[in-house]
Every structure is written in C-alpha cells, then in structure tokens.
C-alpha cells in the first residue's frame, strides 16, 4: 500500500502526518490501492468504511464534496434523511470549496452526517456519510485550515456507485436501479437500463445463472430478491407483438469516418458486440456457421426455457433493425480466415465463435461414431433442429445422460419431452455438488428423471455399432481435505451395467481448434482458447478482438454478453484513436475486488418478512410432452411486491488521483 498519511478505517484512526508508520503499526488490510492506473497514483480513497489519505496535499473538502455530490445524485429521494441530507451536505461542502465556508458549521455538518447514517432507509443513505462524519470527528482541523485558506484546489478522480449484486454480475448491471424503476412504476425504464448493456434482456431474464442473486443480502433472510424474474417482467412488459424496440433511431455515431467491423459468431458475445458497435454508428456484418442467430442460446437452450421467437427478437431482429447484416452459413476456418476478413476491408474483427465441441467421457470403448452416442451439445442441436425445423429425430428407449451442469439438465429434460422411455442422469458427485441451477435440478426430478449420483461411467457397451448400455461404478466421498473440500473415488468392484439405447456425454464443451490456423496469427492457450486481455479484449493480432466462450471456455450467457460489450467499447476506441485503454470503472472494480470491499457484508438491520415470489409454471403433466415454455409470466402486482424486497445496498467508492482519468468514448447526439 501507498504511504498512508492519515485517515479512518473501520473506526480506527490513523495519523502519520508527523512521522511514518512504525513497523508494528497495524494498517488497514487493503491491497491494490497504490496506483489507479499506470503512472497515476491514488492520493485518497473514500468508502463506506472510512477514508484514507495518501497525499497530504489532498483537500478533504473537495474530496468529500465530490463524494456527497454523487450521493445526492444517487439518492432515490424517498426517505427524508438521504433525500434532503445528502443535498444539504453537498451544498455545505460546495460553499467551503468556493471559499464561502463557515468553520462553525462543522459540528452541525457532522451531526447531519450521523443522522443520515443512523436513520436512512437503504444502503446508500446508511453508508454514504459515515466517512465524512469520522473525518470531521477526528480531523476537524484539516477542514478548518482549508476553510481558512479559501477556495480549494481542483482534484482528479471518480466516484463509483455499486452494490453487492452489481459487483457479482459479470456485466456489472445496475440491478438495484432497474428494480427501483419497476418499484417506481416504470418497467420500461428498467428495461432501458438492461438494454443499455446488452440486447438480450428477455433471454437473460429467462436463463441467466444469476450471480447477482447469490450476492443478494436478502438471501440471508427469506431468500434473494427474484432479480431474474424482475428482469424478465421488465422485458416482457415492453415487447408487443409486431413492434420492435430496436431501430436506427438508437444510433449515436461516435466516429468521424465510416468503419466496418466483422463479428464472427452470432452468439451472445457476437450479438452484444455488434449491437453496441451499431449503436456507436459503426457498420457491422455478423457471420455465423448456423442459419440463425443465438449461438449456444439457440441450439443449446431448449425452447421450453427460452422460446425461439423471444431469442430472435433480441438477436437477429435487433441487429438487422439497427442496420447490421447477418451472414449465415459461413464457418471460420473452412470458408474464410481472419486474414481474409481484414483483406476484405473490415477495419476490425471480433471473434466470438464460442466453444461448441462436446467433450468425450474418456472411458473404455468410447466411440463417438456409435449409433446412440451423443455429446450433450450435439444431442441438443438435433432436438433443436427437430423441434424448430422439423428434421426427423426420435428417441426410442432409455437414455443415460452423464453430467451435472445445466447442459446435462437441458439434455435430460429434452429427452423426457422427446418421449424417451426412461431418462437416467449419472453424476459422479452428489446432488448438492451439481453446478446446475437448483431450479433445473428440481424440475428434472419432477419430470421423472432418475438420478444416479455418486456414480461414474467406466465403459461404453455396444453391439454392432449401436449403444446398448454403459458400465458405471459407484463413487464415494473422500475425507475432507485441509480446505474443507471432499473429493470422490471409485469404490473398487462396484461396477454395474445400466442398459440403455442412448448415452449422452454432457460433461462440458470445448473450443473447436480447427477454427483458427497458425496463419491467422492469433495466440491461443493450451485448451485452444484465444488469449485476450481481460479488460480490453485485444488479441495478439492488431485490430482483432475476441470474447465469450472462445476466450473463456464454456461459461455463461452473461459472461459472453459482458465480453461482447467490452470488446465493442475497445473496438470503438481503437477505430477512433488507434489505441485501447482500460476504463476507470474497470480499474475501480478490480480495486474493490482485490480487497473484497463489496462482498462479505451481512444484514445490518432486522427486516419485516417479505417472502420471495415463486414463478408460476406449467404443471408437470402439461409440460413433459411439449417444448412449450415452462415458466410463466408474473403479474404487475407480483412484480411490485418482489421489487419491494430490494434493500438497495448501494455504496459509493471514490478515488482521488494524481492525474485526470480517461473520458469515455460516447456521443450525445443521435444520428
């Protein structure tokens, strides 16, 4: 950490203005506060838990004015102390920084800061004035000196507003804000917040894995806020048949000259990247080897979870209505190369071709050419082509699916709907260990899937090139290791045979290594994933960016959309300035993550019981024979009630830096 000059953190006062800290002085256990960006050191840091000053020249008045100004902006305005108090503190500090301060007001200001912190309704009010309160309590003379000196100096820096759910979201979606909009009666504004990040709001509202809900503080009370169901509600409200939300009206050109970008892959990463580039006024062609958009969300997610018309409206339709072109049936690696694209005059290329190859089980006698043997993703694709395009495909007999993730669940539930006689799920660990959503696991059980946990395939059994069964072995949990984790091991001699006509290996996917050739000049890692910068998504080749599963390996929809959006920002910057930079928000997010500043908080007040709403769904009898959407819509009234459960755990983090921070590349003028 930088040389701490003074500050208060978690109630402990630090003051080294008259000498350096001794070796035995316990400093706050924070890391990564040294530099905000290369050649830009942090001079002061303000948070909910306190403030730290690293440079004695920092003006506390200016620092806290900037902080309170943001607090007043972020205040929702409903509860009295936060609405009026933050504005009042901002104005008092503003008077001081303009040389019109009155030191005799400092005690009243500290009292007001205490009032806001003690009596506000939500996390923002409860946290935004504590640092100021402690600063006046312990370093009042600094304020007095600044007031006496008149106008304060200009400082650089930023204030970042976030919450546990926001930081948990890969796309850093402002969850409390869109929940507020729903609560305030403005679901279309809620949708506006989501669509500012990515176009697939309705899809995400149906299939997101919800890192946000895992971070929700209501989780410790009656269950996390139903963030996903609210997202879907906001999206469903706005979609009217025959009317698209997307049009060229939404384009705000950022560049002075026309530029063209090729986006490879029409999955969530590619679509999001294309969407953001189009909004920035950049021409985009999206190429995909399939004949429809959506990538894994199209072929990999069955329509009982994500109807195809919903998906089309916010992938292909969004792109074409914004002026983009969809070029289908073109496969990178076989039909064209990255060099070809650049040679064709594209100014930049985004690679988002995903990870669409199934992984083998790695068991004895495994042969992918056997009739009745599928990888999870190939099986789902055949089901998709059958259900959507009427290609012949049927299941006759028993099915064994191996795996415990969402793809495995999609496979078993699809197999049920395809009329399999019996569907088995084989998983080497326990149900509790399954990475799949618990809702998916429960739905599979309800739909009659037979679970074989602590069971692992050991040999594939076939006759005349046709699968006839799978030999499985019973597993047992080992003792807990030092980190409290259990492993599993096979029980010797426990082999048994599971007779079946189909074996589906849904244990993961990988990148197709044939997509890139050495001549493309794009570095990949040992799993075949493209090496791209986490923040800027630049690859080893100039003008080429990459994101989504082809970089991350098979991950989630929200990760892919986030990378698509980040890449679009980088591509825009690259096309404008020839460079790419890390955004100040990204640096802040990294800084907060390094010291776990936003996670790990617990409820700080007793809550009136407000039960989480349960999504209505089709009955098991009504759904097992069709691919109709299982989850149904929630009503306006239910949405209000669910939104009202949000505690708005906002808090603000601010850095004062030596030099100015980069400005974002945006335009305010619509085309």
């Amino acid at each position: 950490m930088n040389q701490l000059t003074y500050g208060v953190w978690d109630g402990k006062v630090y003051d080294f203005r008259n000498g350096s800290p001794e070796a035995n002085d316990a400093l706050p256990a924070l890391s990564g506060l040294d530099t905000f960006a290369p050649d830009n050191t942090v001079q002061a840091f303000v948070a909910d838990r306190g403030f730290l000053v690293f440079d004695p020249a920092v003006s506390l008045v200016e620092t806290f004015w900037m902080y309170m100004q943001r607090a007043a902006e972020e205040s929702c305005g409903k509860c009295t102390p936060c609405r009026v108090g933050t504005s009042q503190l901002r104005d008092e500090l503003d008077a001081m920084r303009k040389g019109r301060g009155d030191a005799s007001r400092l005690d009243a200001i500290a009292l007001l800061a205490e009032q806001i912190a003690t009596t506000s309704l939500c996390g923002l009010g409860k946290s935004c004035s504590r640092a100021l309160q402690s600063a006046i309590a312990h370093f009042k003379e600094v304020f007095e000196q600044e007031i006496a000196a008149g106008e304060t100096r200009t400082q650089h820096g930023m204030v970042y507003a976030t919450a546990p759910c926001i930081e948990a979201c890969p796309a850093k979606l402002d969850v409390p804000h869109y929940i507020d909009d729903i609560r305030d009666g403005k679901p279309s504004h809620a949708l506006g917040i989501i669509l500012d990040k990515y176009p697939m709001a309705s899809s995400c509202g149906r299939v997101c894995v919800r890192f946000c809900e895992l971070a929700c503080r209501r989780k410790d009370a009656e269950g996390a806020v139903g963030i996903k169901m609210l997202k879907r509600f906001a999206a469903d409200q706005a979609y009217t048949p025959g009317h698209s939300l997307f049009s060229k009206d939404l384009v705000r050109p950022v560049l002075d000259t026309p530029k063209r970008v090729a986006v490879v892959g029409a999955g969530p990463a590619g679509i999001t990247c294309a969407y953001q580039l189009l909004r920035n006024g950049i021409d985009v062609d999206v190429l995909d080897s399939q004949h429809k958009a959506g990538g894994m969300t199209s072929v990999g997610i069955p329509s009982y979870r994500l109807p195809k018309d919903v998906l089309k409206a916010e992938t292909e339709d969004a792109i074409t209505r914004l002026g983009g072109r969809m070029l289908y049936g073109k496969t990178l690696g076989s039909d064209y190369s990255v060099s070809d694209l650049l040679a064709q005059g594209y100014d930049s290329v985004f690679l988002g071709y995903g990870a669409s190859r199934g992984t083998l089980l790695g068991v004895k006698d495994e042969d992918p050419s056997l009739k009745g043997y599928y990888s999870g993703i190939d099986f789902l694709k055949d089901v998709h082509d059958h259900v959507e395009d009427g290609k012949p495909f049927s299941l006759d007999g028993e099915v064994v699916v191996v795996g415990g993730g969402n793809v495995a669940m999609d496979c078993v539930r699809s197999a049920v709907r395809m009329g399999a006689k019996k569907v088995h799920l084989v998983y080497r660990r326990t149900v509790a260990d399954m990475p799949a959503d618990h809702e998916e696991i429960e739905a599979s059980e309800k739909e009659g899937v037979v679970f074989h946990c602590l069971t692992n395939p050991s040999r594939l059994i076939s006759a005349d090139g046709v699968v006839t069964g799978v030999e499985v072995v019973t597993m047992r949990q080992t003792e807990m290791d030092a980190k409290g984790r259990r492993s599993v091991e096979a029980v010797p001699g426990s082999e048994s045979i599971l007779r079946c006509e189909y074996v589906i290996a849904a244990i993961g996917q990988q990148v197709d290594r044939a997509t890139l050739s050495e001549a493309d000049g794009i570095a990949t890692d040992r799993w075949g994933c493209i090496v791209a910068d986490t923040d800027t998504l630049v690859t080893s080749r100039e003008a080429v960016f990459a994101g989504g599963d082809c970089v991350l390996g098979p991950l989630t929809l929200i990760h892919a959309m986030d990378q698509g959006a980040k890449a679009a920002a980088s591509i825009t910057e690259y096309l404008k300035n020839g460079t790419t930079t890390v955004k100040p928000e990204q640096r802040m997010q990294r800084m907060l993550a390094a010291s776990k500043l936003v996670s790990g908080e617990c409820l700080d007040r007793e809550l009136v019981d407000k039960q989480r709403f349960t999504m209505p769904e089709l009955s098991v009898a009504d759904r097992v024979n069709t691919f109709e959407e299982v989850e149904q819509v929630i009503s306006q009234e239910e949405a209000y009630r669910e939104a009202d459960r949000c505690l708005r755990c906002y808090r603000l983090y601010s850095v004062i830096t030596e030099s100015p921070l980069a400005a974002p590349q945006t335009s305010t003028q619509y085309a």
């Binding site: 305005g77 609405r83 009666g185 403005k186 504004h189 939300l245 007793e606 009136v608």
Partner: protein
C-alpha cells in the same frame, strides 16, 4: 414472546412490528408516511425512530413501523437521542418542503405540521432547492399535484396501485427532484387516471388536492346578472358536519341549505331529486333490456367508473346505461325546465354542484353534457372547496339555524334518491321502483337488505316478479372490484341483469371529494352510511316514482320516462379512449441522462 417498551413488559406475536405493539398498548410514536388502515408502511419518512437495546449490543436506532420485534428487546420511545433524531428528521423534511402554508390547500389541517409539532420542531434550519421541478397539472385537471409540498410518503402511489388497481402513477426523478407523476409523461386526462381522488384522500399534506374553483363561484355570486343554481349531492348532508365540529355522519342538510342562502345562492336544488329521475330513466332502460333479454346493464352515474370503462373496457360501453348521472340530469333540467318554468333567460343561469367527488369536475366538462359549448353544470365544487367557500364567506355551520329546500320544481326527494350515496344504494332504489312497475304495488318492507353490505363485489338474486321475474344483480365498489367484475362479465364467467359500479371504495360517501381525515382512510364510512339510511327511513316518499315533483316533471315537461324529450335532455353516449402503450427506447435513454 415478550418485549419491553419504556421499561414495561408486553407480549407480542412474531409478525408484530415495534409500532404495532406500541399502538396496541397506547404508547405514542409519531408517524407520518405510514397509513395503518391500508397497511401502508413504506418506511420513507423515517420519523418513527425508537431506541432498541439488546443484550450485549450497542443501542440501535430503528424505525418502529418497519422493524420486527425481537424476543427480549428493550425499546425506548423518548430518550433524548430518539427525540433529537425525530426533530432533525422534521427539520430535514421541512428543508425541501414549501412552507408557504397560507397558500396551501391543506391549510390548517396538515399531518406534516402535526408531526412537526409532536416532535417539538421549533425552528427549521435547512433549505434545499429546487422545490419544484415536476410540471404542475394541466388547467383542466380535476386533481392537481404540487411537488413542493410532497413528502414522498408514497400513500398516493399505494392507494392508486393497491387499493384502486389503477396504477396511474410513477415516481420520477431522484433525490430532491423525485416526484410523483402520471405514468409515461402523460397528462392526467390522457392517462389511466380517472380522477377518483382517492390519492387526495390519503395525502398527508397539500401536495395533492382538487383544482380549486371557489374563486369562480364567488365571482358568480358577486355578479348580479347571474342566477346561481346550486345542487348538493346525496352524500354532502352526511359528510360535512365534522368540518365544523359537528357529529360525523349527522344530517346537516338544513344547515347546508341555510349556508347556501347565507352566501346568496339564488336557487337551491337537491341532486337527490335528480337521483329519483335517474331511477325513472335507468329503471325503464333496465326494464326494457331485461324483458327483451338484451343482456347486462351497468349503472352510469359514477363518472370515475364511466371514465374507467372508457379507458379500459370499450366492450363494456354498449352495456352502460345511457342515462346521465344525477348531477348532469339536474344540470340539464336547470338550464331547460327551470328557466322555462321560472321564465328567465337560461343564459343567465350558472349551475354549481357540490359533490363528494373530484371526477365530477371532469364529467361536467364533457362536451356532450352541454349545449352549444356551454356546459350544463358550470362548476363542480368538492366538499373541501365548499368548506373553503363558507370559510371565505365567513359562514359557520354551527351558528346557522337549519333551513329547508323551497324550490317547487326540483328539491323534493325520496328515500331511494338519498341512498344513491352508498354502495348498493342505486341498486336498491332501482329495485324499489322496478318492483312497483312489475307488480303495480310497493315492495313489502320497502328496504332491500340483500343488496346492502360492504364487500367489494356483492351479488343478489331478487324475485321482482311480474314481467321482470328474477333479477340477478351485482354491486361493485372500488376500481379493483370494477375491474374484476368487468373482466368476469366480458369473459362470460358471470351473468347479471344489472350491475351497480361505484369507483370509490364505499361509494360516494367515501368519494375523493370529501373532507380529509388525518392518518385515517375511510374513517367515517360507517357513520355516513348509517346517516343516509336514517334519512331514507324518515323520508315521506321512499320510492323514486312517488316523488311528487318527479311526477310533475314528467307530467308538465318530459312526458314518459325514456321519451324523446327525456332522451334528448337526460341521456348521453360514451367514447372508448384506450391508449396503446408503446415503449420508445430512445426516449427512455434520453430520460436517463
């Protein structure tokens, strides 16, 4: 489970909040945003601070309204710290509140001032700009909102959403710019709002009020060329006394007549008379539709309901009775029948209604309810404005000797007319007359208890006999109930011959134009209802068709009910105006910036 408050032990249920326990035991904690009657406790005002001490923890300061009780908690409601927190809360609340109390519609009866007093606020030290960013309402809006007096208690949003199911309001802006506005940037009249005024009834301050038209009435009274014709709605006589410290629900009809004389009204009519005329017209309609098996008829005397049907259920409109509301029937007759009989120029007449209703202002402004651009009813005053009018004229109801209506044409009423003010009243009045028409004799016992009650949707099967036979009827009050019954009728899941709908919960006796009660919703509902039934019992004629002035009206002027002349003067038509909601992303993004 047990908890202590101020050192004394009380037992409680697991779902209790601190406020509930304190209230149950008569311990006062000041509250402002909370509205117990509707279960509204948003925790936004942050006034009800209390201190909670638990074993081994520092004292905590929490809001009593939304903090559940913990077993063994020790709660203190008036430590110096608690008092200081509450006082500062009020200081802050006053900081962005327009304190020009003299110009406030809630002048003298404001919950905010009461709470400021309760916490001992002596001086307000904070002033935050801006006090007004949300646009004020259009000039033709019946209900007006003043952001500078809004304390963001969310009661209006809750009553509109949860009680009325209209959901016309949204919260716009943030921080001190936050405001309660009509959804999607619409004007009130083009929005889903039907101006039922229930939001006004729950507003603790003067942020929401009716558009004040008392000045226009005073100008009429001061103009010697103008003949002022006043009408008072059924509910006025049982909903006005408390303004002057008289018993709630008590009949002050005579004093209201005396007050109108005192301020110089030229002609004083009773809307009850018109209610009797409505029964003759609407009853005839229903009779015709029932005997011809033409399906359901809905009442149309409530303008909030008519507006609601026009905005939400265009398919219901053909089922709405074409008979105008009592206010408009009287307005129409006051500009035709009255000048004809009194031999004066109708152009000199100005009709002023005193109504328990905000939506009546919109009704009076409907172009089809007038002639040649001149409205039949010129001004509608809510009861609150009527109280203001009397205050401005220095009239104190307590000091007046009761007087009586003396208009020979349109002031007599039957008991059926007066019960129009309560849910079930229109239905009961109609049945009394339908029975007579069907059987040629009056209904035994007169009263129809099967249609009375307070459930939001009620139904009854009435054996009327004669050519009417069995009548299946339903009564719905409150717009949530109106929506439910409309949807059920359209879906075909229920079948009724005649359905009475009133937009306000309870009917007109709890209408959005009544006097406001502090911290209570529908506080005097029962007294007012009892008051109307008491008047009904004392009325000489208890059926509309036995009103002698009504008989004279038909004899001398209209001919038969539903005659051509009656149709021309007393019936109307409806227009669907549903709005298609379409989301414009560009506009939303622009709003966000």
């Amino acid at each position: 489970m047990k908890a202590q408050i101020n050192g004394k032990e009380y037992s409680f249920e697991s779902s209790d909040t601190i406020l509930k326990l304190a209230r149950r035991n008569g311990i006062y904690i000041p509250t402002l945003c909370e509205l117990h009657d509707t279960g509204h406790a948003p925790g936004t005002c942050r006034v009800c601070m209390v201190e909670v001490r638990t074993e081994g923890a520092e004292a905590a300061y929490v809001t009593a309204c939304d903090t559940p009780l913990q077993d063994g908690a020790r709660i203190y409601t008036r430590t110096p710290k608690v008092q200081e927190l509450r006082r500062m809360q009020l200081d802050l609340m006053m900081g962005d509140h327009n304190q020009d109390c003299a110009s406030c519609s809630r002048h003298g009866a404001c919950e905010l001032i009461d709470v400021a007093d309760a916490v001992g606020l002596k001086k307000s030290s904070i002033s935050i700009q801006p006090l007004q960013t949300a646009p004020c309402e259009a000039a033709d809006s019946a209900v007006v909102y003043d952001q500078s007096r809004c304390i963001r208690c969310m009661r209006c949003v809750s009553i509109c959403r949860d009680t009325q199911g209209v959901d016309a309001l949204e919260v716009s802006g943030r921080g001190v710019n936050s405001a309660i506005v009509i959804k999607d940037g619409k004007t009130r009249n083009e929005s889903d709002c039907v101006s039922c005024g229930q939001c006004v009834m729950v507003c603790p301050t003067g942020a929401l009020s009716e558009r004040d038209q008392t000045q226009e009435v005073i100008d009429y009274l001061a103009d010697p060329k103008i003949v002022t014709v006043f009408q008072i709605a059924p509910s006025i006589r049982v909903g006005f006394g408390e303004e002057f410290g008289l018993e709630p629900g008590g009949n002050v009809e005579g004093k209201v007549v005396a007050a109108l004389r005192a301020i110089g009204a030229d002609v004083i009519l009773d809307t009850n008379f018109a209610a009797d005329v409505v029964i003759m017209e609407e009853g005839t309609e229903v009779l015709g539709r029932v005997t011809r098996s033409e399906g359901t008829t809905f009442t149309s005397c409530c303008p909030g309901w008519v507006d609601f049907a026009e905005k939400n259920f265009p398919q219901i409109l053909p089922m709405l009775s074409s008979t105008r509301s009592p206010q408009q029937v009287l307005g129409s007759l006051a500009k035709t029948y009255l000048p004809n009989k009194m031999d004066i120029d109708p152009a000199r007449i100005r009709v002023v209604s005193i109504m328990p209703c905000t939506a009546k202002k919109n009704e009076a402004a409907r172009p089809e309810l007038g002639k040649d651009g001149i409205p039949d009813v010129d001004i509608v005053l809510t009861i609150r404005e009527f109280a203001r009018l009397l205050r401005r004229e220095g009239v104190d109801l307590r000091e007046l000797e009761p007087s009586a209506f003396d208009d020979p044409l349109m002031s007599e009423y039957s008991g059926a007319g007066v019960i129009f003010g309560t849910t079930g009243g229109v239905m009961e009045a109609a049945i009394r007359t339908l029975y007579f028409v069907a059987n040629g004799k009056e209904l035994d016992g007169i009263e129809v208890h099967a249609v009375r009650g307070f459930d939001n949707v009620r139904e009854a099967t009435i054996e009327v006999g004669g050519k009417v036979g069995t009548l299946k009827v339903a009564m719905a009050h409150g717009l949530t109930a109106a929506r439910a019954i409309s949807e059920a009728v359209l879906a075909g899941t229920v079948k009724y011959d005649f359905i009475e709908v009133m937009a306000c919960p309870g009917g007109c006796i709890d209408g959005g134009g009544h006097l406001r009660s502090k911290k209570r919703y529908l506080k005097h509902a029962q007294e007012r209802r009892n008051g109307l039934f008491a008047i009904d019992r004392k009325t000489k004629a208890r059926q509309s068709h036995n009103n002698l002035q009504v008989q004279k009206l038909y004899r001398d002027f209209l001919g038969e009910p539903n005659s051509h002349h009656a149709h021309e003067l007393l019936h109307t038509h409806y227009h669907a105006h549903q709005q298609e909601a379409r989301v414009c992303l560009k506009k939303i993004w622009a709003d966000k910036e």
